[in-house]
Point group: C2
Chain length 193, copies 2
DNA sequence: CGATTTTTTGAATCATATCAACGTACGTGG
DNA sequence: CCACGTACGTTGATATGATTCAAAAAATCG
């Protein structure tokens, strides 16, 4: 899908991290597949092995899992971010979670074989692979430390200021579920501040 | 420090992930520095940039940070694991946390320049860099999801069964701080089960 | 507009934190 | 080797804050 306008966002993003030459870029475009989801469509379900990493052009995806029969939202992915179950993808193990479209979504699918092919053939893509996972890891680590070190109230305020689009686009009870509190309590927190 | 017995553990670990040839392995041994810490020594302090990744041969290290004047333990690192502030290391930004030896510790220091030199020169080390951060990321992601989806009690039991050596070696109030509850409450949880 | 979903409110209940006191283990100096 | 002091863990009583359940109000969708 070389030259497709659907690649604009991801190309701009990639070029902030590495500088592939023309051949290398073309090789990348060949492994990409465009896909659309309607609100409530599932991108991944529990038990399946996640064989892709998806880049969101538009929309919001929710990651959630069941623990003792209870559903917990573990992440939101929005425009310009990657959606995957990395644990399942990296370890080739059955996923323990779901990826669900909360809005209509446009995304790019990078398959595992495609990605591994690039890693083997091109030093620049292997490096990109390392740098991007390092970045994602940093974001994740920051999130984890906040969970440990701050109160629910602080977490909500941080989340709302870091991801205002998500707060607008998704029902509050999903955000409550993500923060580990009841919708009622979140409502009360919001009223205060 | 080629052929030093202090490299045995890390060599065994690395060879489960990639298979460097002799030249590649020697290049690695040249960037490693051995270091010892006494109990209560600091490996990293807030405000400094973390320019290393350390591999623990023995002992336990605690990562902690201050949030609104309160100290929170954000992680423990024990034998056979890597200790660093990856956020500071990767982004070259001042660290917001401390790394403290909870016991006497023996470790190997990999400097940023050493590591980057290996990445540039050897495809096998660039790949190792990607694979190891992928692994660490998976562990981290699993921890983060547990924080969101499970109760403190479950978290304690999971932690205690995953890291029994740590539970034995460190004071309980650090574990309470890591789990986000009071030492008194942890004591009561332990009595129950 | 009517139907459904989402958010808010209130009251009762439950869980955890806090504070204070006590018990125990450990190591150090006498 | 003992005694004392310090650090750590436990226990109990009370206070705080979050959850739960039920219901009403508000927002959204067809």
């Amino acid at each position: 899908m070389k030259d497709s306008p659907q690649l604009h966002k991801i190309e701009a993003f990639i070029r902030t991290i590495v500088q592939p030459n023309e051949e290398e870029w073309e090789a990348f475009t060949e492994i990409v597949r465009f896909k659309e989801l309607r609100k409530k469509d599932m991108l991944l379900e529990e038990g399946k092995i996640c064989n892709f990493i998806a880049f969101l052009n538009t929309g919001v995806i929710r990651e959630y899992a069941f623990q003792n029969g209870r559903e917990a939202t573990v992440d939101f992915v929005s425009e310009g971010q990657f959606a995957s179950d990395y644990q399942s993808f990296i370890l080739r193990s059955p996923s323990k979670q779901y990826l669900e479209a909360l809005t209509d979504v446009e995304l790019l699918i990078l398959s595992r074989e495609g990605i591994n092919g690039l890693y083997d053939k091109y030093k620049v893509w292997e490096r990109f692979g390392r740098l991007i996972i390092e970045k994602i890891f940093c974001v994740n680590e920051a999130k984890r430390k906040k969970l440990i070190a701050t109160t629910h109230e602080e977490q909500y305020r941080d989340f709302a200021s870091a991801y205002p689009q998500i707060v607008q686009q998704v029902p509050q009870y999903y955000i409550a579920s993500y923060l580990g509190l009841t919708p009622e309590h979140l409502s009360r927190i919001r009223k205060k501040g």
